[in-house]
């Protein structure tokens, strides 16, 4: 059992647990959607002074912030108690090859040269972390949800708008990965 837990979990373990997460939140009378917290954070930070979009009863969303706090703790537990030291992500050989060609190291859980505070002082890192984060936050609210709200909750309820959003997620993701990212990584 311990060995199984320490290994990376296969998709057929993770998928059902994500569905369980959605079910538990529904059972608690809530909706599974993480990106709503970004709007809540804007409201708490005084965003209501600038746009009525941030004037809402954010106290009704505190449960979601608590959920997010739980995910941070979950990440900590997974790393410190459930993963061997120096985990490698076992991506396919062809992906490793593609990374080599782009000059990205395959080492550790995330590419070390892209996801560190040092990276912020390079143009490449700044674009990927600040620019990428901005696009996620802008796009998710424009689309009315993210991977959890649309791809999981929305598709589970057979919502066509969510299907359109997920198609959009892939148009953007493919465009970035195949067309734009090679230029950004070369900076």
């Amino acid at each position: 059992m311990k060995e199984f837990i320490m290994q990376p979990w296969p998709w057929y373990v993770a998928g059902p647990l994500i569905a369980l997460t959605m079910f538990l939140l529904l059972y608690f009378g809530k909706n599974f959607g993480v990106s709503a917290n970004l709007r809540t954070m804007c409201a708490i930070g005084g965003g209501g002074k600038f746009s009525d979009f941030f004037r809402f009863d954010w106290k009704s969303q505190i449960w979601n912030l608590v959920f997010v706090l739980g995910t941070i703790i979950g990440g900590f537990i997974a790393h410190h108690f459930m993963t061997p030291a120096n985990p490698m992500v076992d991506i396919s050989d062809s992906t490793v090859l593609a990374l080599q060609e782009l000059g990205v190291e395959h080492k550790g859980f995330l590419p070390p040269e892209l996801f560190s505070f040092d990276a912020l002082f390079s143009l490449r890192g700044l674009i990927m972390l600040v620019g990428g984060g901005f696009l996620v936050g802008f796009g998710t609210r424009y689309a009315g949800g993210c991977t959890s709200g649309h791809a999981i909750s929305g598709l589970s309820d057979l919502q066509i708008p969510s299907l359109i959003a997920v198609v959009g997620f892939f148009i953007g993701g493919l465009l970035m990965t195949w067309v734009i990212l090679p230029y950004v990584l070369a900076l």
Partner: protein, 137 residues
């Protein structure tokens, strides 16, 4: 205490996504290159089970712990909103390798630089709030 259950479900979700490497930039890069089934298996099985779960909830008129029937509301139909918004989201997802959930999970995992990603995403949401009336919805 009433918030404890949300914290615990969050812990479950955080551990799941971290242990299945869904939060790793490498996995997202691999997914968009169609070089592994892993991510499609994760999302696909979650959706298939999710569809079954939602159908059971609806047909059995299941109540939440608060006592009222669990309800689902249809999302307003639109093309530009979901397609353009979704595409912008996808561009950022493939860059940071993290959608909103994983951003926070990675903070706990030991990548404090994701504070910057979370703040940038919050700024993105803020700017959307400022200019949304000018955007096609």
């Amino acid at each position: 205490m009433k918030f404890l259950k949300y914290l615990l479900v969050g812990v479950l979700f955080g551990i799941t996504l971290a242990k299945a490497e869904v939060v790793s930039w490498y996995r997202i890069f691999e997914m968009f290159r169609f070089e592994s089934f892993h991510m499609y298996g994760v999302i696909g099985s979650a959706v298939v089970i999710g569809i079954i779960v939602v159908q059971i909830i609806k047909r059995k008129h299941m109540n939440s712990i608060e006592g009222s029937e669990i309800s689902f509301s249809d999302k307003a139909m639109s093309f530009p909103r979901y397609l353009i918004g979704g595409t912008i989201f996808g561009l950022g997802w493939a860059m940071t390798g993290a959608c909103p959930g994983p951003m926070f999970i990675l903070l706990g995992y030991g990548f404090p630089v994701f504070v910057v990603v979370v703040l940038s995403a919050t700024m993105g949401t803020f700017v959307y709030g400022l200019i949304r009336h000018k955007l096609p919805h």
